[in-house]
Symmetry: C2
Subunit: 197 residues, 2 copies
DNA sequence: CGTCTATTTGAATGTACTCAAAAGCGGTGG
DNA sequence: CCACCGCTTTTGAGTACATTCAAATAGACG
């Protein structure tokens, strides 16, 4: 498995020396998972923060009736996990599951605390990473509040064209907050408009 | 104005020496704002991150039709601003406005960069702060996706009873993503149920 | 080719919105 | 102290949007 993408992801925001990179990699756990496999189950403690080397995943909340509500997708060069559970080491609200076969680079909570001490810059890296995720979720809330259903769909496809190919439509519906049937109807309506224009 | 709440807010997550506290306070700008006053206008660059000493504020997105969509409220002991604009120093997506008269402790972008260098622990503090905000927004997305309108309202009141008294109902409606009329109807329905039980 | 799962379609229903009007409430001035 | 004004909340009727449920169709995989 290629850890190069991990290092270049980190180097987007901080510069590590060769020694620091080695130290980091010595703590990284590389693992493969199969499509459908769970990386984290809601209720368990999130022991690892995961960097995606290849494949795709989803994190979701399972409500009282057992319905999944997708919080986020992740593909190559993204991080995924339940950050709330990870940082507090309390039971997770969310479940993380592979959509495709995946290769992940995992950092355990203990190892990350160790790295924060040895390489304080890592603190900066995860601050920036969290800030970006925070801004993304803010945007998502606003999109939910201010866009029409059709706009939400078009916005998603425009922002994440990579996902449209790799994520089944019913998952996209869950992410956007509609039923699969309704998303199907939206898509139909949009394709009619394209034919006319 | 009392900066004690600022220091005790920070000391929840990191320990500062007296010297560090002094250095921090020397960079803090204390300011008063009146009800209705804007702290940040969408499109401007967010120059300050704000800690609320007293009063209440809202941050919101104004859509193309001019409608406000409230992203967050803030009261005493909370932080508010447009973190995306602040960290990138690019134009803000959101507007921040006082709901009541406010006393704020402001930290400028430049001063915060300086503090990160002089007191690296501050980096840790803002990482933790951002993580908590991130977890909060995640929860909000899931609540939006998984709860009924009535549940969303009850959930809000339960989680933030402080706000129910201080925030007009039409702002709460905006935050929850309903029209004011609809929120009024939900409240009526709930109060009927209480009478019966 | 057959099976399983995902997507599409349609009818009926329910949820939330729009618009318009009335009622409530706080502040100000006569 | 009351009357009036402006703003918020309530109420109701009609409408639009999104869901549910059931069934048909399409795709993927062995």
């Amino acid at each position: 498995m290629n850890t190069g993408t991990l290092l270049s992801n980190i180097s987007k925001h901080i510069n590590l020396t060769l020694k620091e990179e080695e130290l980091l990699l010595s703590k990284v756990r590389l693992r493969k998972f199969l499509k459908g496999q769970y990386i984290l189950q809601g209720g368990d403690i999130c022991k690892y923060i995961n960097f995606v080397i290849s494949g795709s995943l989803k994190s979701f909340y399972r409500d009282i009736e057992g319905h999944e509500h997708i919080l986020a997708f992740a593909i190559e060069d993204w991080w995924i996990g339940d950050l709330g559970s990870f940082t507090t080491q309390k039971p997770a609200d969310y479940t993380v599951q592979c959509i495709e076969n995946c290769e992940l680079a995992q950092l355990s909570y203990e190892d990350l605390q160790f790295l924060y001490k040895e390489i304080p810059k890592m603190e900066r890296f995860f601050r920036i990473l969290t800030q970006k995720a925070y801004v993304y979720f803010q945007r998502r809330i606003i999109d939910n509040l201010s866009l029409t259903a059709k706009e939400k769909y078009l916005n998603f496809v425009k922002q994440y064209p990579q996902f449209e190919q790799r994520v089944p439509q019913y998952m996209m519906a869950s992410y956007l907050g509609f039923t699969p049937e309704f998303l199907s109807k939206i898509r139909k309506e949009i394709s009619f408009k394209h034919l006319k224009s």
